[in-house]
Amino acid sequence: MEFAELIKTPRADNVVLHRPFEPAVEGTLCLTGHHLIFSSRRQDNAEELWLLHSNIDSIEKRFVGSLGTIVIKCKDLRIIQLDIPGMEECLNIASSIEALSTLDSVTLMYPFFYRPMFEIVEDGWSAFLPEKEFEFLNALTDEWRLTYINKDFSICPSYPPVVTVPKSIDDETLQKVAVFRHGGRFPVLSYYHKKNGMVMMRTSQPLTGTNGKRCKDDEKLINSTLGPGRRGYIIDTRSLSAAQQARAKGGGFGVEVYYPQWRRIHKSVERFNILQESLIKLVEACNDQSHNMDRWLSKLEASNWLTHVKEILTAGCLAAQCIDREDASVLVHGTEGTDSTLQITSLAQIILDPDCRTIRGFESLIVREWLQAGHPFQQRCAQSAYSNSKQKWEAPVFLLFLDCVWQMLHQFPCSFEFNEHFLVTLFEHAYASQFGTFLGNNENERSKLKLPQKTMSLWSWVNQPEELKNFKNPLFEANSLVIWPSVAPQSLQLWEGVFLRWNRPSKFLDEAQEEMRKIISDNRVLQEKVNYLRRKVAHMETNDEMQEDL
């Protein structure tokens, strides 16, 4: 298919662009296969707006006489308005945008066409290989091994080719366990806590069904990860009743009699359309420009967004606490083990492991616990807060995770190497990007699409020194401790940087950021100068003494 077929009117003049907090600008609108480009004609202010079609969540059009107006609502929550003279042009442009922003073939997406303008220092596609990660683990313990049982994705289509499993369990056993677990997602290692050797594993629900089926190999695997006299907790991300209901559909939960050293805790975390509804309501509340305080608070409350943040963060804390404070290992699962499970395992790691609070470590966490672990990004992030489609599989699971990380960053402003901008950038790229990183739903799909060969990795771009500096938190001081966030409502805040980003002037907050950077860099510069002078003085003094000795 040629994009040209979809573009009925490639260009319109005298278009007026309206954005909040900025004066309206007149200019030219161009449509290309992947971008909507608006450039103002004014020479003094040659400003261009580039918008990826894939970033467009919904589009509305209306007419006053022959002047058409298109309102474009983006997945990054921005809303812009374009006034286009001429009814036909406007209709053409609107329908072109509609068609281009809803292409159903992944291979037509921009990442397959994007050619980077920068030199690749390190290829992000191979920056976080499981083998490398395993080397670190192997240096600490020899109880685990890598298995290539899933190398052709036949055992579990949503798992990567390589996963870490207990050394004592052979591939044959794994194969049997996979049959007993939803989607073949047998228990794998997610995190090893250096301090006490406790581990966190993740899986999907066991397929016990109504008649309480059991699987000896599953029991063997799970029990084998605990030494004698040790305890473990199975954190089920569903309520007990939801877990019980799942039995009717062939799912269920492990009965503790068969897992004697394990205790089960149900920690209900919402999923799917409930989360999507919550996001839609929250964004609606944030975009409400009325000046009524009561309506704002009740809408914020009714959206339940912060309730979800609190639930998820609490569950993450619980898992971390079991490991660090109770000296117990943890197994996390929900139904499929691709959503709430990953929120919890990744949050627990950020709490426990200072490495995950560095930029590199956080990238590695996203790769391990989200991309390789098979979070279906393409389905979940197909639409954002302005969508009308209401598909069951759309859900801001990843955004909620990022929000929880932001809450921690807010409570521990000096313990993260990255800043808020980094989290916002990840949110944007998960929904629309020139990079292939978040395309596809799992490693299987990614390898079929040949993403590493055909597209650029987000990490290749982020990890360039000149980009990296924009994501650095100037206040960062390595903190090797476990960080325990407060989950009280008083401590949790609306993430303004995402939800009010386009509705508030950011000038004063940016200024504060800039001032912070300046204070820190002044200090560093001076530190260097002083060190240099100290060395120089010391050098001259020793020379002096030597001369004197002579």
């Binding site: 000096c414 407060s486 303004e496």
Partner: protein, 686 residues
Amino acid sequence: MVYRWLFFGRKNVRTLRIITFLCQNVGTVRIVLPQVENVRLLDRLSSRKAAVGTLYLTATHVIFVENGSETRKETWVLHSQISSIEKQATTATGCPLLIRCKNFQVIQLVIPQERDCHDVYISLIRLARPVKYEELYCFSFNPKLDKEEREKGWKLVNLSEEYNRMGIPNSYWQISDVNREYGVCDSYPTEVYVPKSATAHIIVGSSKFRSRRRFPALSYYCKDNNASICRSSQPLSGFSARCLEDEQMLQAIRKANPGSDFIYVVDTRPKLNAMANRAAGKGYENEDNYSNIKFQFIGIENIHVMRNSLQKMLEVCEMKSPSMSDFLWGLENSGWLKHIKAIMDAGIFIAKAVAEEGVSVLVHCSDGWDRTAQVCSVASLLLDPHYRTMKGFMVLIEKDWVSFGHKFNHRYGNLDGDPKEISPVIDQFIECVWQLMEQFPCAFEFNERFLIHIQHHIYSCQFGNFLCNSQKERRELKIQERTYSLWAHLWKNRADYLNPLYRPDHRQIWGTLHPQMAPCNFLYKFWSGMYNRFEKGLHPRQSVTDYLMAVKEETQQLEEELAVLGERLANLQKLQLNGNKVKSKQQDRSKELALSASSNSLANTPQEYSNDLKSFPSRSPSQGDEEDSALILTQDNLKSSDPDLSANSDQESGVEDLSCRSPSAGGCLPSEDSGKDSDEAVCLAV
């Protein structure tokens, strides 16, 4: 009566005991039971954690000293901070006593014997409700300053200097002595600034037409465009009354701003309230009677509504483990943020009129000492960057609150009085400032701590600034001769109150602030730093302000070292050139070098720097592994033994506890808060 000064350090419990024996008879108050052993201090957030210790009642404080542990953690509460004491039903463990403080601290004690509890309760009820000013702490508080220093402290904030700064007196405004000896209005200061064309006759005439004779007087003058903010009380207009002098007074205010042909008259009450006042012979200005005024209502609720609103919000803050919905719903239901927004909106309206339209504004409510004070000071703060400095902010409070007769004693219940007079009027103003600081992080010279400590001392009665209801009463009591000024105290410790991000040079900040109006834009936030001030576990665990201040301090040290090193380098180079030196001189130099080298290493090694950082929350023991402060999950649930396996697994109890706030970390308050210093003297009557 003999006064004896005793000094004791924080940990000197023995001295404490002596003192408590000494103070069984304090003035007119008899403390029935000065000391109770084996009292338990409950942690508000988790009933499982309780400290056992001894409770002392002294003339000025309630003190709880923890048993055991070498730290001997102490909790000090000034009697004047106590807002309510509640004796609850006796349980098997003892008799619970709940003390709520005006600085939002809540203390839950369990006293073993019911009789002891009753005695403590009775004593505290009396101690927390002094009947004479002389019983207040400021009359016994002595920060060991001599008379001269005390006088200097009181001169730190000078209102006539402030009016001079505004450019007054000038050809439009003058100082009037019409209120000398408080002859016209006893709640106004003696020095008032009025339009030049307003004669004494007009002022007196106008004052007779205004509630409590609070005639229009100048609060703020903008010298760039001559627009001003004046304040008064409501006119006694009833349904039809007029007063020629009052009309002339408003005319005079308009004429003092030749650039504008009208003035705004802003009534900060809801219209309904103002109309109801007409029936009582009061009310609001009729636009037909006053030439060239534009009349405007801005509905800020009265003190009773505000008192109830705070009460409701504090109930939300006190909830044990609220869900997000409980919290947000409770916050909305309290209406608190709505009221804050109303005050801010009024301030924004006035600031806009003055700065953008160049129109003068007369502000009033009923008596013109609550809402009017709030709104005038918010507007001034928005208009003039001077009020966003530390000194300027002190001046602002002195100008719009203290001098214009805000009834501190009645509103904050310093002396026992009518509970219906109590209302968090200045608390709301302080919160408005905080909300502005959140939106304009570089615009204020001071930080959040400054606001919190001012709020604390408005209630503490440790300093004389906020005593009484008017300047007249303060002068009669000779406050300045008998007590100390808070402003001098804050100024002395100003390093603690600096905002590291303050940029006085910045053009956007050096002018009028334009806050956003819509709640979602402005994002009026719940201020946990104030209302959950003592639940440290709820606050961010690392303070950006403290971190940046430490960095700035280090930068300063580096600068000093740089200068020293530069000098030494120059010397060395000179010496090398000279080659030969006198032996003795050489020795001197090496001595000096050794000295400065050691001091340098102290100030500059990275180890030293990170040691400094140890005071940060993230590095403090509370973050350490042994401390249980970070524990969120209950021990019982996880440690339950195997028999109740099933019970454990299908209940979400392990989960419920997680939703509770993590327990508060530190308990020890900064000395500033509790009105004690390690070297502080306590005055006792023997």
